[in-house]
């Protein structure tokens, strides 16, 4: 494996959880709901995925469990904010805190156990192709899922009728409701999708990235995913660009440190955040386009008048 391949593979591993979680949140926010519980759902996915994989010995079952756990956890958020119309910001924060605490309790007996790794794929001939073989044909299944997910989300949002309906709910829930669109039901589905994605991102953490369970192992990745959605002005391909840029600068600065180039490490550690924000703000500087893409009902509770 060449250095080039090694670096690209490490970047992909670092970027994938951010990408998946951010895509899920994108759908949620496009429907007009702000769920700040990404970190909590992610860590619930991580612990459930690890536990299921550990008990069954199958990483795939772990993945399924993580997706279900993320979705189930998000349902709690959905019930509170959509059915009971609670404040979305406060409820989302509570979800994160609950997720971090609950995952630590659930995971207590799994700390220190060897994990089950989701193996990378291997295709005779193709994977061994020099330079790009491993990058294109030798990564873990969740990486490919994340790319498919990006394509799927972009297609769904902008090329399907259902996507248009979802966006209309996010832009103006009152008008959508007046047109007979089932606002609450659509938002429930969006929230569930967001939860499932966050759970999947969590599974990537505990089955691929670092195949083990430790408390708080998401270490703020849910928050980075949330920020990516906003800085990418709610556009799926920009989220992909942002996630990979973040991953690339993170890994790049580690390599730069190992080479001993002598830039203060604190600055280097801040670099991924700075670079990602600057680049995404620059590509989103067209005000009109940004306005079009911002879901105007974001964060507002909807109570249908009867």
């Amino acid at each position: 494996m060449t250095m080039f391949e090694a670096i690209v593979l490490t970047i992909a591993t670092a970027a994938t959880p951010l990408l998946i979680a951010a895509l899920g949140e994108l759908i949620v926010e496009r429907s007009g709901v702000l769920n700040l519980g990404v970190e909590g759902m992610m860590i619930m996915g991580a612990v459930s995925g690890f536990a299921a994989a550990q008990m069954t010995g199958s990483a795939w079952l772990g993945l399924v469990a993580a997706v279900l756990a993320g979705a189930a956890f998000s349902l709690l958020f959905g019930f509170l904010t959509l059915t009971l119309a609670t404040n979305q910001v406060a409820t989302g924060l509570a979800l994160t805190l609950l997720g971090l605490g609950a995952s630590a309790m659930i995971g207590e007996s799994f700390v220190g156990l060897p994990g089950v790794r989701m193996e990378s794929i291997y295709i005779q001939g193709l994977t061994d192709f020099p330079y790009i073989g491993k990058i294109l044909f030798g990564q873990d299944p969740i990486f490919y899922l994340s790319i498919l997910l990006t394509i799927g989300v972009a297609w769904f949002l902008f090329k399907t009728r259902a996507g248009l309906t979802l966006r209309s709910v996010g832009d103006n829930h009152a008008s959508a409701h007046a047109l007979g669109v089932p606002v609450i039901r659509i938002r429930y589905l969006a929230v569930l999708f967001g939860g499932a994605c966050a759970g999947l991102a969590g599974a990537q953490l505990s089955l691929v990235y670092v195949p083990q369970w430790v408390e708080n192992m998401s270490s703020g990745r849910g928050w980075i995913a949330l920020a990516l959605v906003v800085f990418a002005s709610w556009r799926p391909w920009r989220i992909l660009a942002g996630a990979y840029l973040f991953g690339a600068v993170t890994i790049g600065q580690l390599h730069a440190q190992a080479l001993g180039i002598g830039v203060p490490s604190q600055l280097m550690s801040a670099l991924p955040y700075l670079a990602t924000i600057i680049v995404l703000v620059l590509i989103s500087r067209n005000k009109r386009l940004t306005l079009i893409n911002t879901p105007t009902s974001l964060g507002k509770a909807f109570v249908p008048d009867r």
């Binding site: 670096i7 700390v111 890994i251 550690s269």
Partner: protein, 360 residues
């Protein structure tokens, strides 16, 4: 043990603090002892070992003590609030177990003159604040010796948390140990700027391996680097606790922080009224620094490691003994001269040979 989640607090950094209390007070004389942890007790590293010390204290002192801990408390304003919370809750002895809690501990201690505080790895003491520190660097020296013997590439990777004296001591001691075997040995340093971020620690380990190191040592708290080393089939040293489970064919040894005896001694001192503020700096000799079994190495390396350990324990070998030069080439210690504890505890420079620029 009954673990009860009693409260959750939003931390400024969006970290989470949970309080777990064990036991219920029956007698009024029972000494309440509080602990502040930087990470979760399940990190299998730094915090795990402190928690082991706490459990050992509970086991030995039984009904005489009641312990409480706050986990994953960020350094800074949150620390101050958390320490104060423990003091208000009636804890008469409080251990704050991370370097970054130093100023917060001193501040809270001024408000609670009747509470005894014990701060780990710092250097500021007060009437009711003791400092206890461990000569981890003695273990790092032994690791350096092993690394230089085991590495084919002649380069080791070092994952650091923050450039504070405790970590810099470790890098220097590791380097000196390695140089005692191979004067041309190289160490590549990556700062994670975090004590605990498994993903980032794994990334740092991968970057180091990709750049050609074949031994990894870490001064961060998760087992992720050990796991990466296992995957990449190189060797590694554990951190703070025995991480052999995470790298049965990878771990060479690990520095195990053995806090239990100290915690028991200090709690007893408070109970019998003999507690006095002090500043202790103990190592292999006192049993605070213990080495995990030497594994995955040939017998001659193991023998050398054991001899080095024995020499350090007996005091015959002091890692920071001249002639030594600083990284910039200036003279630090003359031949035969040893560094005093003050210099060691405030070490903010590299010794000659470290291939990194120390961030300030």
């Amino acid at each position: 043990m009954k673990k009860m989640i009693m409260g959750l607090a939003v931390a400024a950094t969006l970290g989470v603090t949970s309080i777990a209390a064990t036991g219920i007070a029956f007698a009024a004389e029972k000494l309440k002892v509080g602990f502040i942890y930087i990470g979760p007790p399940g990190d299998f590293g730094w915090t795990y070992q402190h928690d082991q010390g706490r459990k050992e204290m509970e086991k030995v002192l039984g009904d005489q003590v009641e312990t409480t801990f706050l986990e994953s408390v960020p350094e800074g304003a949150d620390a101050e609030r958390s320490i104060e919370r423990l003091a208000r809750a009636g804890n008469k002895l409080i251990f704050t177990t991370s370097f970054g809690y130093m100023d917060s501990t001193i501040k809270v201690a001024q408000k609670f003159p009747n509470v005894k505080f014990e701060h780990a790895t710092g250097y500021k003491t007060a009437e009711n604040v003791s400092v206890y520190n461990s000569r981890f660097y003695e273990g790092r020296y032994v690791q350096g010796v092993i690394a230089a013997k085991m590495s084919k590439a002649g380069v080791a990777g070092y994952i650091g948390s923050f450039p504070i004296p405790e970590v810099v001591q470790g890098i220097n001691a590791f380097m000196l140990g390695a140089q005692s075997v191979n004067p041309d040995f190289k160490v590549k340093v990556i700062w994670a700027n975090s004590w605990f971020d498994p993903g980032k620690e794994a990334d740092a380990a991968k970057a180091l391996v990709d750049q050609g190191v074949d031994i990894i040592t870490q001064h961060t708290d998760s087992t992720a680097p050990m796991q990466v080393a296992s995957e990449r089939k190189i060797k590694a040293f554990g951190q703070a606790s025995d991480m052999i489970k995470f790298g049965p064919e990878t771990q060479l040894t690990s520095i195990v922080d053995n806090w239990g005896p100290y915690y028991i001694e200090r709690a007893k001192a408070v109970i019998d009224g003999s507690w006095k503020s002090h500043n202790v700096f103990e190592g292999m000799k006192e049993g605070l620094v213990v080495m995990a079994p030497y594994t995955n190495m040939p017998d001659d390396v193991k023998k050398l490691a054991e001899e080095t350990q024995a020499k350090i324990t007996s005091g015959e070998l002091k890692p920071f003994t001249g002639p030594l030069k600083k990284q910039d080439g200036s003279e630090w210690l003359k031949a035969g001269e040893t560094a005093d504890d003050k210099t060691i505890l405030s070490m903010n420079f590299y010794v000659a040979g470290v291939d990194d620029k120390l961030p300030n």
